[in-house]
Every structure is written in C-alpha cells, then in structure tokens.
Symmetry: C2
C-alpha cells in the first residue's frame, strides 16, 4: 500500500500550528526563581515595589539642601547603606552618606566627598550643587505595577535578576513536557555504536531532537531506534503513549511501501493533519491517540529540523526564534508552489549584516547545520541582490569564517568555520568590504588588494564523464559540459574513481595540465592577519 499526498490536500504551516496548539495542553507549575531559567513564563508579572524602593545616594558624600550650596555646613550624623535611621536635615546641616544610603529627610541632593573638605564636623562645600544631584529618586527606574515579565516569555538570566530585585522568589511557568523520540528506518545506525558502513546513515535526527528538547527544558524520556517493521513501530508508539506528554516519530511518513508511521497514526488515532504545504517538510503527520499528540516528522534531516522548529518548537516555546535582518548578497528564488526554507550564511559589515544563501537541496543537512540560520520564503517569493531578508538564527553567529575557494595548502588558526562557496560570493563580499577571510580565484574576479596569492595549476585526472563545479568556483571555467556539478575539489575527489575530475595541482595529484589560476587571499579581519598561512612540503 502506498499513501500519496496530493498538493491540493496539504494545509498551510499556520493551519498546522493552530490545529496542533489547540491539542497540546500545557500544565502550569510554580518553580523557584533560579529553577525558572529558560522556562516559559505562564503569567504576566508586575512590579510590586518601586525601583529604587527609596530615594538614595549614588555616591559617597554628604546629603544637604542644595539651595544652600556652596558654603559651610555642620555634619550632624551619618547614615550608612542599609541603615534605617530617623534623621532630618534642616538648614545648613549635612548628613554623611554612603553610595546607596537612604536620602535623609529634608535633604534634596548629595555632594560628593571629593567636592568637600571637612574638619571634624565642619564641612565646606566648594561648589554649587543642583537639586537631586547624585540622588537616585524612588521609582525613577521602575515604578510599581510596571510589567516586568510577559506571559509566554522565555525567562533569561536578566529576567531572573529583575524578578529577584522585586523580592520575587517563585514564578509560574509552563511545565516542561515529557517527550519520547522514536527514530524509524532500516538505514539508520546510531553514532558511537557502529563504525560507518554503506549504505547506512548515522542518525542525526534523534540527536538533534534530544538536544533541542533539552534546550527547551523538556524531559526526553527515551530516544529509541526501530527498523521498518510495522509491529515494532506500533509497539514503540504504544509504549511511549503510556508515559509521555508528547511523542515524536521520525521517518515512515511518506509514500514508501515500508512507511508505517502514517498508516499506524491513521488507524490508531484521529488525524490532526497529514501533509503541510512547505518545502522541505511536506510529509508531516500528526494524530491524536489516547488523547495524546503524536507528531510524525519526515525522515529527511532537513525536513525533520524545519518542521521541528516551525511547528513543534514554535508551539511549545511560544516565542519565535531570533531573527536578524540582513542584506542579501545573492539572488534567491523560493519555490513556486510551497513555502520554502533555505540556509543562510551571515557576514557582518560595519553598518549592516549581509546574508549569503548557498546552493541548496533538501537533502543537505550539512550545509544547513553549518549555516547561521535559515530564511522562510513564502510560496513564489524571491529575494534580489541587496534586498533585506530575515534570517532565523540557529547557531551563534560568532567567530571567524573563511569563505571562497578550497585550497589545500592554506592553513588557518583562530577560525571557526571554512565555507567552500566558490569565488562569486567572496567577490561580492569583497566589494562590500565584509567577510573575515576571502579566498578568491582569478577566474572569477581580481581583487585590487589582497594579502598574498598562490599560483596553482589545474590538472585533469581519471576517465569517464566529467565532474564540473557549480558556477562561481574558479575551476568551473576549465570543465566543458560536465554532467555533474559539485561545490569543491574535495567533493570532486570523492567521484574520481570512475569519472574525469579537474583538480588543483596543490592536491598533490598528478594529471594532465589544463590551465592555471591564481588564488588570492584577502584578510579583512585584522585579528586574523598572520593567522592564515601556506603549508610547506605538501
């Protein structure tokens, strides 16, 4: 039996979100403030005391009536920080105060100790003091009944601080959910259990989901792997129903004969939806079984990730992932028929952030996880060069990135990411003066300034159909009518067994010379000068 998903039966992401959020019930629990970090607030919280709670000195000095300055004053007392002393300033009296001491009655300013001279109880204030100088006035920071925590807000360390400053030590949050993760698929092997053997695939979905749920504060009760045997899949789902608030399955939701998750979810429960109008992520299914929500994610890792973010996390977390608005370095086309999600690389400029969207296909989980975030393009939407694009962050977007051509003789230190994107994007970045390190081929553009250059020959090796490169990679110019295009010489090398491959001589591979190019190294980030070098004795 094959179940096919017709385009006209798909529902929108918004509709899927709405249906699911109505059925996922969240319990509210009161927790200690310190345990609330990163949990989602279940109520609005308002200030119940003013900040500052009383008018107080912001310096070490003397509280006086400002209108009597400059002149002589008599020091009548001292009020230390934290001390509740009934003392009143009248006329030319002064009271010594600490930073943070309550302002004595009658005083309306504090003069800094540096601006006075004192002998015993005689104080000389040498300058004119303005009313309320060096005083933090009651309520001037936060006044009573100010909203200090929103409902549905993720509680940050900063909000813990603010709540503590109000004396609040308990807070009501949404109880973390107990989640079961069931990974299906004959092709899946678990990292750390086996060494790699083809044609298996290491599980990344289960690891991603477990980490992502952990990040949200949820409890992952189990992460189990099951082969595509209907009885086994069914047994795992039924077991999970006993002790989980939410069950997530991965794989088995599509039209394949061995796809059983969809069949089980249809038979055993009430379908909430099947099929979402997005790319990737279409074969997503959700069902209510024994009053519990089971979400069947597609097995393709990019699909599983996107659907997790946009559907599951967006419901459980309320808040959206952080977005950065960036200026696009390249033209981006969405999908004509469905909403599309594409990974983006961010480059920081002086006055704005730039986004580069690498060539992408839905199976490229590597390109996706190495990016800084992703772009959500509505059906038919596209973005032109220099247009703003909103990027949802997935990684920290910090550290330095090398971007451009792959050149094996280069060595780097202090770099957190090397992206073989070819020269086109590096040339665009160069024009705008952004990008930490750019590696550019003379075949694509000629930099006016660069730090150093490497000459390399291009050699042809092997036989059979030709492996070429995506546009923007320098070597692409040397390959006539290739039947495949790859991103980098390393990727070409993986195909060299039965195909003709064009490689830089710096790979140390001998072959027929077909040309020469110059690789320019442009180091924009001053901290990296001297940290990019050339390896000897390749």
């Amino acid at each position: 039996m094959r179940i096919t998903l017709n385009d006209e039966e798909l529902i929108t992401l918004d509709e899927a979100r709405e249906r699911l959020s109505k059925l996922i019930r969240r319990q509210v629990v009161e927790v200690n403030l310190l345990d609330s970090l990163n949990f989602i607030s279940a109520e609005e919280v308002y200030a119940n005391i003013n900040l500052p709670p009383f008018s107080r000195s912001t310096v070490d000095g003397y509280a006086i009536k400002s209108e009597l300055s400059p002149g002589d004053f008599a020091v009548i007392d001292k009020v230390e920080i934290g001390e509740a002393k009934e003392v009143k300033v009248e006329g030319r009296q002064a009271v010594e105060v600490d930073t943070g001491s309550i302002l004595p009655h009658g005083a309306n300013a504090v003069v800094k100790v540096e601006d006075t001279s004192r002998r015993e109880n005689h104080l000389l204030v040498g300058r004119k003091v303005n009313p309320w100088d060096n005083v933090a006035i009651i309520g001037s920071d936060i006044s009573k009944s100010t909203m200090i925590l929103g409902k549905g807000e993720r509680i940050s360390a900063y909000k813990v601080s603010l709540l503590a400053s109000q004396g609040i030590s308990k807070v009501r949050v949404y109880k973390p959910m107990s989640v079961s993760i069931i990974i299906t698929g004959n092709e899946i092997i678990e990292p750390g259990v086996n060494s790699y053997f083809a044609p298996k695939i290491f599980d990344s979905n289960g690891y991603f989901l477990q980490a992502a749920f952990k990040e949200m504060g949820s409890t992952v009760i189990r992460r189990v792997y099951v082969t595509d045997v209907r009885e086994k899949v069914e047994k795992e789902i039924l077991t999970a129903l006993n002790d989980s608030d939410l069950i997530i399955t991965v794989g088995g939701t599509s039209a394949g004969e061995r796809d059983y998750v969809n069949k089980i979810l249809i038979e055993k429960g009430t379908i909430i939806f099947y099929g979402i109008d997005i790319k990737p992520g279409k074969p997503t299914i959700a069902s209510l079984i024994n009053d519990k929500v089971v979400v069947g994610l597609p097995g393709n890792p990019v699909s599983a990730t996107i659907v997790f973010e946009e559907l599951v996390k967006s419901i459980l977390d309320f808040t959206e992932r952080r977005e950065i608005i960036a200026n696009s370095l390249n033209e981006i086309k969405g999908d004509r028929r469905r909403d599309a999600f594409l990974p983006a690389i961010l480059l920081r400029g002086k006055s704005q952030v730039y986004a580069y969207l690498p060539p992408f296909d839905s199976y490229m989980i590597g390109a996706f996880t190495l990016s800084d975030g992703y772009v959500h393009l509505r059906r038919g939407e596209s973005v032109n060069v220099n247009e703003p694009v909103s990027v949802k962050l997935i990684n920290t977007f910090s550290g330095y990135t090398v971007i451009g051509e792959e050149e094996p003789s280069l060595s780097f230190s202090g770099i957190s990411r090397i992206l073989y994107a070819g020269s086109s994007v590096a040339c665009e970045a160069m024009k705008r003066g952004v990008g930490d390190v750019l590696i550019i081929s003379s075949e694509i553009c000629e930099p006016k300034e660069f730090d150093f250059e490497i000459k390399r020959k291009i050699v042809r090796v092997g036989s059979g159909e030709s492996v070429g490169y995506i546009d923007g990679v320098g070597i692409s110019k040397f390959v006539d009518s290739p039947s495949i295009k790859v991103k980098s010489p390393s990727a070409a090398l993986s195909l060299s067994e039965d195909k003709t491959v064009y490689l830089p001589s710096t790979f140390g591979i001998k072959g027929e010379e077909v040309g020469e190019e110059t690789i320019y190294v442009v180091i924009n980030e001053s901290e990296l000068k001297g940290k990019v070098g050339v390896r000897r004795n390749l």
Copy 2:
C-alpha cells in the same frame, strides 16, 4: 581607611580581559555528544565521512541510464533504503529504489515513480531524464575533511546534529568551572526570605550570576550572603578557595569605609588589576589568591552585570554575545572619559531593526534588564539619529512591545512588554512605520492615522516643589521649572507625598485641572488589533 581609584591608574577592558584570561585555566574533558550541548568546544572537528556518504536517490522511483530516456525499460531488481545489494544497471535496465536508497552501479539518474507506468517488469519512462536527476551525489553536501566544529564554539543542537551525522558520539569540551558567589553588603536581603522593608535592597546580583553561570554550564557551588564585617567576608573568601575554580564577590570594592573586599584581595593575594576604564564598572578588582582567581565585582547591579558579561563571560565563553546592527532612533552620547554601556530597546522594521536608547543612569538595573540588549560606546563616541549601532542581545527580542505614554485606562493582551518612554520615541517609530503599539501624546506629535484616542485632563495635586517629566513625555509641557524629572505618572505618584505632582485624570486622582491632552493609540502590528482596549469604570 579609604582606597581611592584614580582615573590614570585604570586599565582598559581589553587589558583586564587579557590579564585575567592568562590566569583562568580551563581543563579539557571528553563528554558524550548529547551532554555537550551548550558547552564550549575545545578542539576543531573535521568531517571523516562524506555527506551523503554514497550517491543516493532523493525520490521513490527507478534508477536508469538517463541517456536512454524516454523509452521502455526492464525492471531487474529492487534496492531498498539501507540495503546493500550488488546490482548493476546495463542498457535499458531499471532498478526500483526508495528515497534514500543507494544508487545502483551503472545508473546515473532516478526517474520518479509518478513519471513512469509499470506493468509487471515492463517500465515506461514517459519523459526525458537528465543525468543525475533526483540523485544526491556522494560528498555533494559535505566532503571529507571539512571543518564541522570550531575550537571555542558553543555547541548548539544543530552542531550536535552535524556531529552525529558523522557518527561522532564524544567531543572534547572545556570543563565547566566550579564557582562560588559571595554577595556582600549590609543593605542586602535575600528574595523570598524577607518581605521588603526600607532601606534594604533585594539581592539581584547573586540571582543573576547564578543563573548566568548555570546558562554557561558552570556549577555554582554556593551563593552566600555576608554583611560588611571584615572577618566574615574574609572567612567566606577563604572557604570558597578550598573548593572553587573561580570565586566571584559582589560589592565592597569601592572607596567606602566598610568596603572590605578590595582590602582583603590586596592583602591576601597578588592583584591582577584594580580599576577598569569603563562606565559603569570602574571599581572592579581581581586577585590571585592560592593560585586561584578571585574577581571582585562592584555592588551596583548594572556594573556587576556589565563586568560579568564583558569580562568574566567573555573569557569563559570565548565567543561574543550575539550582536544585532540597528538603526538608532535617537542621539546617544557616550562618556567623555570612559567606555560606556547603555541599554537599548529594539524595534523591528521591514528592512531593518531600529534601536531606541532610553534615558539611563548607572543605577537603573530595571531599565537595563527590561531592554533587549546593550550598546558599547568607546570613550568619547556618540551615535546620531539614523546611524547604525551594534546592540549585544541580552533578552530574546521577541514578543510584542507597547511603547510611549503611560495611560492607566488602557488594557492590553498578548503583549510582552510595556515601556513608558514618552512620546518622542513613539513619534520617531511612527514616522518609520515600526513599533507594535505606540501610545502618543498630542503635546508631542499628531499621528495622521491612529486606532483610537483617549482625552484626558491633567491635574495638579499636592504641594511643595514640582515633579516634572523627562522631555518627550506629554505632561512635561504642563510643568514649569520642575526640580525633578521622572519617566511616567506612576513614578511621579511615588513622590506625591511631599511634592507637587501633575497627573492624568485617568489615574482617578482629583486635583486642580491645568490642561488637557489627547492620547493616540497606534496599533501597527495586525495581530494586536482588538487586543488593546479601554478599561471601563476606573
């Protein structure tokens, strides 16, 4: 004894960071991949297998030689996903494949099942198939030896996914530090222990630090409170030296007579530095005692927070906090003599993000923690309206914000933050079409379009000196020569006991009428239409 810090003895933040980072030793430990979430990677990791690890089908269909399409083919076998079957396609042969199946030898494309018709083993391919159609080519996503994790990088759920896809199940990270937090000060009371009584202050620093260390994965061994008694402070520090990798004290670092932390750190250890050229945060001290680093943060919560972020966290975390580049809505002046740190409110526009920097004084921990992030201005640096400014994020910058005048008859739902910033910023936001909900006084600007309006009278109550409002608040126009300026009517109300206060009649307070203003409510965010209302029967 008073210890004074002269400006010429201060060191820069960079210098402080460098001295401290040399002395804070980090151990490296190997942990299970799933336990590595949010830890800092201690090594670069490179791909050891290609992704995809073999060329595979991206659809359910038939593997063929593309150059023979369209036409008839003979189905000779089936290769399921995960199955290792030695099968070779020759001539007009086809092999049935699943999404994810390994591409059989000899085939160079897959035709989708929808584009074929089959009767028994006769397959008709109705269309021309291009070479490598529907094939994910080996190494085309990530080729072997690609850097997949940087050293010093915070490990995200996405990086857990990527490492798992390589079969990596262990990773080397910097071992979390064991930290002791010692809060000093006679004025401090612990949240949840006492109800509030003046002139005490609820501790927020200890809570902030514990949450922030927890967020970094560090273990907080203890958080203790100690009054300003030298022997007690010394005892706590010496106790903490026994079992902590790092000791953080708060308070007692300044020139006050009861400031003992600085004295103890000077006497008992070797001073690493004392005094940093920043505002706030100057009286920060660090000392090496028994070969362990003790950092003495200033007691002022904003100072403690900034120094924690910029010094402690930036060393332990390697990576910088995320920054957003925003367009400034107002003019911002830094400090003439020191680097300054100022909170910023972010407003999302269609093509860029805007930043508003509220009036700020170093004691305003409330304004700081309610902001989205902060701006670091170098000595003497200033930012003009419409200039880019880099904001380091501290909160999630999500959810909806109300910004403008305080009007007590308004009720909101679905809002995560209400900022009483007055009308000027709301008018600037309106001009640019940003801001979720804007509350604007007719005294500052007149919106062309608004959702509804509220007429309110301004009344004067009380006697004594006049409490006014900061520029930009509508009511400020009604107060002649005030001696204090506050941000909102609620803040003014806190001062009404012995002063003349000007309030909107909507506070339900009777007094002499001095004028009238109109409050305009502008709802830009369509989701909030109907969620802003007026309370009846005030």
